[in-house]
């Protein structure tokens, strides 16, 4: 797919109504027009994945999993809240003390149930007495909670108790993010910022929906031990607590090269012969990488570039050398790309026939009139808050004011995403140097092998595959294509792939024969 065709009007969905839930408070419709609503830089890969999985579960329940309906620009769904479960796991301070206290089980059950019934937030009169029948011993109950608590995701973070999440064992362990204070429980967009929505819709619009549906239906529904442990803690059927109707995120493009690329990688990973849900360790960071690629590729299209940007990757060398300089440079170039895309959007919006017909209409006489028209126009197309554009003396000033507003918003979110997601997925790091650049971690390298290698592939062919699919540049062949002549040197890139080969070898992913031939091997493809 040509990059320019992404922006073909026929490929762009109409935007959702402005009064839709979650869209009312938007400060402008700039970034959203380019990347959708929304890429959220503070969302870690696990939060991305959980948000995605929660939606997938809701859609599976509604029998619409990965069904794409481009007639509607946004989807709606109802998510689990699991008030009882999250109180049991994360708002249950007295449990271990009661468990360790002397006394008969019945005394412990009585004391704990009474306490929990009062402490549960938000207080909705839930009676935790049902748990007594489910466990033979109070100790088993306490142990179950303790074991599950150990699987809390990102335990090092300082999140409030109602924003802590379990490892997604299955349908019972999923719930939406809530801010619970006293009697209130409100949906929050800080942890689940809708990037998971975009992920869900990207997959729904890929060519692999049938395969994905089967896989995720199994992952969500097939019983497994930990999910059963979770289920055992849930209140009896009938007291199911679902959220109200939630609106989903907006993804502008009906088709985009990023969709199939993501879907294919996820499918390959989920089909590996890895036990249990071990593939998640690769699926999750890859989600962040694919959103990063989506952001960059789309930005390049808006900037009118013929191809997606390249990512020159350094395999960490002992000292500053040529490849590191190129990696730094490539990182900085790309980091500025979202800004250029936004400027392109501003240019397109404030030029051309529609603009000339309104703000630049010859019937308008004074600058003030033109500015007023421009404000109305942009309020309509860019959802610009008129208050924010007030005070411009003429159109020139107005344009720079608008641009500044767009920049401000970009600087708070989309402008930070490349760096944040890049670090989260292991593509970007400061390791061994003072500044950020592309320097993939061992974990990401391993994930790339697992996602791309079926059985085995010759090392240099693998490098060319990584370039073709992701635009990652490691070796001299790819660098000579990707970089201008004056920025290319053969030897340092050769050394770079020597180091890469050594990394692969030490991770057991490479089988070196002799004299220049090595196979990259996937230890988990196919059988044993």
């Amino acid at each position: 797919m040509e990059l320019a065709t992404i922006l073909d009007p026929a490929n762009i969905l109409s935007r959702p109504p402005r009064n839709a839930e979650g869209y009312k408070t938007l400060s402008s419709w700039g970034e959203e027009q380019i990347w959708g609503h929304r890429l959220w830089h503070r969302q870690t890969p696990w939060l991305l994945f959980l948000e995605f999985l929660g939606i997938a579960e809701a859609m599976l329940r509604a029998d619409r999993l990965f069904v794409s309906d481009t007639a509607r620009s946004i989807i709606t769904y109802r998510l689990h809240q699991r008030i009882a479960l999250r109180n049991l796991l994360f708002n249950n301070a007295l449990l271990s003390r009661i468990n360790e206290s002397p006394g008969a089980d019945s005394v412990k059950w009585d004391a704990w149930t009474k306490w929990m019934n009062e402490e549960c937030e938000p207080h909705r009169g839930l009676d935790f007495g049902y748990l007594r029948q489910r466990f033979a011993k109070f100790g088993d109950f306490a142990r179950t909670i303790e074991l599950l608590r150990k699987t809390v995701l990102e335990p090092g973070t300082n999140r409030r108790w109602s924003s802590r999440f379990l490892f997604p064992f299955g349908q019972h362990a999923l719930y939406e993010d809530l801010d619970i204070t006293g009697a209130k429980a409100e949906r929050q967009a800080i942890n689940f910022g809708r990037a998971g929505d975009l992920l869900y819709m990207m997959l729904s619009r890929s060519s692999y929906t049938t395969e994905l549906r089967a896989l995720f239906a199994d992952l969500l529904r097939l019983p497994n031990i930990p999910d059963k442990m979770v289920a055992k803690l849930l209140p009896p059927a009938g007291s199911e607590d679902l959220s109200g109707e939630r609106t989903g995120g907006y993804l502008p493009y009906k088709s985009h090269p990023a969709y199939d690329r993501l879907a294919k990688d996820w499918l390959s990973l989920l089909r590996l012969s890895l036990p249990s849900r071990d593939a998640y360790a690769h699926v999750v960071p890859l989600a962040a990488l694919h959103l990063l690629l989506y952001q960059m590729e789309t930005a390049a299209a808006w900037c009118g570039r013929p191809a997606a940007p390249v990512y020159v990757c350094e395999i960490i060398a002992p000292k500053m050398e040529f490849v590191r300089q190129r990696a730094l440079r490539s990182y900085l170039d790309n980091d500025g790309l979202p800004r250029l895309a936004l400027e392109a959007l501003a240019r397109i919006t404030m030029n051309g026939t529609a603009w000339d017909a309104t703000a630049n209409n010859p019937s308008l006489i004074t600058d003030a009139e033109r500015v007023t028209e421009a404000v109305h126009y942009l309020e309509d197309v860019l959802w610009l808050d008129p208050k924010e554009a007030a005070g411009a003396a003429d159109l020139q000033e107005f344009k720079s004011l608008v641009l500044r507003r767009l920049h401000d918003k970009l600087d708070d979110n989309n402008g930070l995403l490349h760096s944040a997601y890049g670090r989260h997925c292991g593509l970007i790091s400061k390791r061994g140097a003072r500044s950020y650049r592309y320097a993939p971690t061992d974990a990401l390298l391993k994930t790339l092998v697992l996602a791309n290698v079926k059985d085995r592939i010759e090392f240099t062919e693998f490098l060319s595959l990584l370039f073709r699919r992701y635009r990652l540049v490691f070796g001299p062949v790819e660098a000579s294509i990707a970089l201008p002549v004056e920025e290319f040197e053969e030897t340092p890139f050769r050394k770079n792939i020597d180091r890469l080969e050594e990394r692969f070898r030490s991770m057991g992913l490479l089988n070196r024969l002799s004299d220049g031939v090595a196979y990259v091997e996937n230890p988990f493809s196919g059988g044993l």
Partner: protein, 612 residues
């Protein structure tokens, strides 16, 4: 033997060493030098020679094509010439030519055999077009491999070149039948298969030959040379007299303790899956004999020998230094895999208190002295190292011992340890063993209890297998399990490879149970030991390299998994994943209980059950 002849012999030997030469034409250059100096080449019968000669044997009815591959310097060209001669060809006809053809008489009538002595010299360079003739010849090769051709092919190529050429072919001519052989060639090379079903093709990979065996053969061929008579006839010449470093190093190579230790190092390389080609084995041996850091190209000629004897720097040419390439600048040393492999053992950089006490205090301390005499001083090749002795006395006596001094002292101490490494007897259970001076402290156990046992057709002792299993249990569960009688398959609730994995899924006994489940160590592919876990009707193999054995032994003895190597840890965890995937395939439904492993006071695992 005249002085001139002896000097030429030294010069000829030197050409096998790490000196500048045109590497790719090695097989062709050496014979010319041999003619020039009037000295016969160093040569032994390659262990694979019969295999190669019999692979294309006209007397056998079913003839097959052969691809002979290996690392550069493994002797492919030499073996091809041998086959060419055996089939009636003359070497002079094809000398330095990449291609030759002859006709052999077979029971089925005359048959054409094409030889590509050097595929990379014959095929077009990368980016260059293929000629119709070249394409046609490889297509005919493909037909023959597919059983539809009438001719036979013998192709020699380094495996790297082979793949490069086929990749190039597949890019330019994807539809040619030759290009379609690529997947089969890939599979044969990567999995080290000699043949695949349905193809008339024999792949002989010389890199599969045991390095220890090659070293043994190369060493005998070298030591048996008549030219060494120079030490008798020219004893008055300092180059060949008793003070000559060449003579001393030659005597050391003849010393069974030294040479067998060197062979053992190679045997352990084999066990780690590392192969050294013939050319580099000779290179190593010549470097041991002639290496010296302060002469031209770091290898002595006869004149250098006389000079270093005269200026008393002969001790810098000691075999235990040259053996690790100490005479060479780092960059030069890095060019040769053999020095890289030997460096991996870190001989002399590791040590034990007992050994260092002996080296530092043995001479003076009456308690240590008997052992010092037995292990150090009784060495017939031993000449006191004056530099070390001075530094040692300084270290023991001097009040000030500066940083430079200290660095020198440590370097010389490490050299003394290296010397001792070649000197210590390798006795199972002794309190001082040579392996304490290497990173592979368990190498002795590995040799005696795994390699030797398996080679003599015996089973590996239960306690050794249990040691491995205990190491696996600890690495996999993240708990200090003190049980090696069962392999405990444990998992985290979330990830099966969680650092702390308390959920018990299954356990496999080391000794066979009623269901045939058991754990053994047996000889696998290419004579390499492997751990085999028989699990509910399936078997999962794990090659037991020295590195993995060392890692598991250390954990088994109480080290933490990450203290030795993170890479080894990842590798052991990948094995766990494979085993758990195998176990999961046998599970039709989830068990009704969750079993959690807890350790009792003796480190024995106890299971606590929670009903679901």
């Amino acid at each position: 033997m005249t002085k001139q002849q002896a000097d030429k012999w030294v010069l000829f030997l030197r050409s096998y060493g790490p000196v500048a030469k045109n590497g790719s034409m090695y097989a062709e250059d050496i014979p010319e030098l041999s003619k020039q100096y009037g000295v016969a080449e160093l040569r032994f019968r390659h262990p694979a020679e019969d295999l190669v000669l019999n692979a294309v044997n006209p007397e056998v009815p079913s003839l097959t094509n052969m691809v002979l591959t290996g690392t550069a310097g493994d002797g492919k060209t030499t073996l091809c010439y041998a086959l060419w001669q055996r089939l009636g060809g003359k070497v002079a006809e094809v000398w330095r030519r990449p291609y030759g053809m002859l006709t052999v008489n077979t029971p089925a009538g005359p048959q054409t055999v094409h030889f590509l002595f050097d595929l990379s010299g014959w095929a077009p360079e990368k980016g260059q077009p293929w000629s119709a003739h070249q394409l046609d010849l490889l297509d005919r090769f493909a037909s023959s491999v597919n059983g539809t051709g009438k001719e036979l092919f013998v192709i020699a190529a380094n495996d790297g070149k082979l793949i490069q050429i086929w990749r190039n072919l597949a890019e330019l001519h994807p539809e040619s039948s030759a290009a379609k052989l690529r997947p089969d060639l890939d599979r044969m090379l990567a999995q080290n298969l000699g043949s695949v079903d349905g193809k008339l093709l024999r792949l002989i990979n010389l890199s599969g030959t045991s390095t220890a065996e090659l070293l043994h053969l190369a060493l005998s061929s070298l030591l048996q040379r008549p030219e060494w008579a120079c030490f008798e006839t020219l004893a008055d010449d300092p180059a060949y007299g008793s003070a000559s470093p060449l003579k001393r190093n030659w005597l050391l190579l003849k010393d069974p303790l030294f040479s067998s230790r060197l062979c053992t190092l190679m045997e352990l390389c084999d066990a780690n899956g590392l192969h050294v080609p013939v050319r580099e084995i000779y290179l190593l041996l010549v470097n041991v004999l002639l290496g010296h850091p302060a002469v031209n190209q770091h290898l002595m000629k006869a004149g250098d020998l006389r000079r270093v004897v005269a200026d008393s720097t002969a001790s810098l040419a000691a075999a235990h230094r040259n053996c690790f390439g100490d005479n060479l600048p780092r960059q030069k040393r890095d060019e040769y895999r053999v020095f890289g492999y030997l460096a991996m053992f870190r001989v002399g950089e590791e040590t034990s208190n007992d050994i260092d006490n002996l080296l530092l205090f043995g001479r003076d301390n009456p308690d240590l002295h008997p052992e010092f005499v037995r292990l150090v001083e009784s060495d017939v090749h031993y000449t006191p190292n004056a530099a070390f002795e001075r530094l040692r006395l300084d270290y023991l006596g001097a009040e000030e011992f500066g940083e430079d001094h200290r660095t020198q002292f440590l370097a010389e101490l490490s050299n003394e340890r290296r010397r001792l490494f070649f000197r210590l007897p390798d006795q199972d259970g002794a309190h001082i063993t040579p392996w304490q001076l290497t990173v592979f402290q368990s190498a002795g156990t590995f040799r005696h209890h795994v390699l030797d046992q398996l080679r003599s057709g015996k089973a590996v002792a239960l306690h050794v297998v249990e040691g491995i299993v205990r190491g696996l249990n600890r690495a996999w569960s993240g708990m200090l399990i003190d049980d090696g009688t069962h392999l405990h398959l444990t998992s985290g609730l979330d990830s099966t490879t969680a650092r702390l994995s308390p959920v018990s899924l299954h356990r496999v006994p080391v000794a066979s149970n009623y269901y045939g489940e058991q754990i053994t160590v047996a000889m696998g592919l290419r004579d390499r030991p492997q751990l085999i876990v028989y699990l509910l009707g399936q078997s999962v193999e794990y090659e037991m390299t020295l590195l993995r054995f060392e890692f598991l032994e250390r954990i088994s003895n109480g080290s933490l998994p990450n203290s030795f190597s993170r890479e080894c840890y990842e590798d052991v965890i990948a094995f766990k994943s494979r085993l758990l995937a195998a176990w999961q395939r046998t599970q039709k439904s989830d068990p009704p209980q969750l079993r959690i492993v807890e350790l009792d006071d003796h480190g024995m695992p106890r299971e606590h059950t929670i009903n679901l």
